[in-house]
Amino acid sequence: MKPKPEHTTQRLKTLLHCEDNLETDLGAWFPGERVVFRGKDLFSELNDLPWMSLLLYGITGRLINSKQNRLFESIWALCVSYPDPRLWNNRVAALAGTARSTGALGVAAATAVTEAKIYGGQANFGAIEFVKHALNSYQRDPGNFANFVNDELKTKRVIPGFGRPIVANDERIPPLMRVVTELGYQDEPHLNLVFEVERILLEGRKRMRMNITGLAAALAADQGLTTQEYSAYLIHAFGAGIVPCYLNAVETTAGSFFPLRCDRIQYEGQETRKWA
């Protein structure tokens, strides 16, 4: 392609401008002196923040209050950190332990695996997108909301945040709702709406219940998190379950985590054949 001269300048302009030049309002380390974190001094202005508040400040640029901090911590603590090494992401950490890899490698790999479709990152993304979309729909036409929900289910076959593999009910909802009620967040628009969605779905053929993904997404949306902020907030959410799965495996006999005999591979492919 023969680029036009004026286009040539435009194309390169971004890279030339950014060469050895990062303009940012995120923060910086001043070696031996101080750290600026989104426009505030970490050691004198943010020094009393709990870690969750600092995390959310980093993500959103907004400071949360102690009630919000408790809510966001409770979502992590009660909902996604099960120390069961059979769970797919936890199992990665346990495999790292039994294979005598390092903690960070096992946990990083498990965290990456958590960005999954049937649970974790992609499911949470879908759930908050749905609750936001659903509230818009409800506000536009409340009388037609049941049709909206049923149409979503019909066209997409799933509604993120509703239904659950293995079991129908979600044991995490009552304990999280107790915290929500205690904090006074029980009457918020997205939250009310997800219970209405559940009511509609329970009347349908599939009788789907809300799962924790739907509830947590509604609570976060009510606190003003965008889809991207919510996804970022949840990246480390599974950590309290993942880390002990690694430790437990690395503290037991090497290679002893669910060993598999050769005949546990059920081969369903081509018959034995010759290469030549």
């Binding site: 392609m1 600026v36 426009g39 960070a104 598999l260 005999r261 081969y267 081509q270």
Partner: protein, 280 residues
């Protein structure tokens, strides 16, 4: 009745155990071929990789084409984002796996990475060799086509939004692969490159050549994405090890490169502490 044990279902791999140990394999078969009894003697590495993904041996021309692609992708060089990620692991003394994980995590992206290749392969699937459809696809890139949780696509996949003209290595690779077989898409890409570049508002990139080559080799989009990730690891590994030896002192830190737009300046507390240190 005892519950049946869980099994791993596979069309790729089967094993026969050693007589004295059910946990050790005596013979391993890949798609029906005896790996240690025969494949290791007769196959090239690239043929074996192709077999794993496709379930069948490649024809000799396919194997040659695949190997050439593997060489083209093996090392994007130390300025590439994925290799830089691996080198950041190297200079800090991170573990070898961390360096490769860094390369994979960064090289997975849709700006020069494996997801861009997947999206370009998606364009091939949608547009085949129809210029009008390509125009539509390149001018309105298929953001979210392979998963809405990915960041929005900001350029036409397979093309470089910052490029001036198609770089020589990209042209050399395209020319060589288009002359080989299979190359239906590669030849069409070579013939229509300039029109496509105009529609994409940028020159063809190596991701675009890789996508066409992987599609010609009959890899699915998911397989192509995986293969691209895999094939770029050698360079990342070698550069990470090299930088581990050079060390962080000889590696760019961009000391004067960060410009903070909202620096509050030293606070009273910080000033006081520094003054104490000076006094001490």
């Amino acid at each position: 009745m005892a519950k049946e044990k869980d099994v791993i279902h596979s069309r790729i791999w089967s094993e026969e155990p050693e007589a004295d140990n059910p946990f050790a394999a005596a013979r391993c078969f890949c798609a029906g071929y005896d790996v240690y009894g025969e494949v290791i003697h007769k196959a090239s590495w690239i043929e074996y990789v192709y077999l794993m993904f496709r379930g069948e041996r490649p024809e000799s021309a396919q194997a040659k084409q695949f190997e050439r692609l593997a060489i083209a992708l093996a090392n994007p060089g130390p300025r590439d984002h994925s290799v830089r990620a691996a080198m950041n692991g190297g200079v800090g003394g991170s573990t070898s796996a961390a360096c490769l994980m860094a390369a994979l995590g960064v090289g997975a992206g849709q700006f020069g990475g494996a997801h861009e290749v997947a999206l370009a392969m998606y364009c091939w699937e949608q547009c085949a060799q129809d210029l009008a459809q390509w125009r539509e696809c390149l001018q309105s890139p298929p953001s979210g086509a392979l998963g809405e949780f990915w960041p929005d696509l900001e350029h036409a996949p397979g093309f470089d939004p910052y490029g001036q003209s198609c770089p020589t290595p990209v042209l050399q690779t395209l020319e060589l692969l288009a002359a080989g077989k299979p190359s239906t898409r590669l030849r069409w890409l070579s013939e229509h490159r300039e029109e496509l570049e105009a529609d994409a508002d940028g020159p063809l990139a190596m991701t675009g050549v890789a996508a066409a080559a992987l599609a010609d080799l009959e890899f699915s989009i998911e397989q192509g994405e995986m293969v691209f990730l895999l094939l770029r690891l050698p360079g990342a590994a070698a550069h990470a090890l090299e930088q581990r030896k050079f060390g962080w002192r000889r590696y760019p830190f961009f000391s004067d490169g960060l410009h903070l737009s909202n620096d509050p300046g030293p606070t009273t507390t910080a000033k006081t502490e520094n003054e104490h240190e000076t006094e001490a």
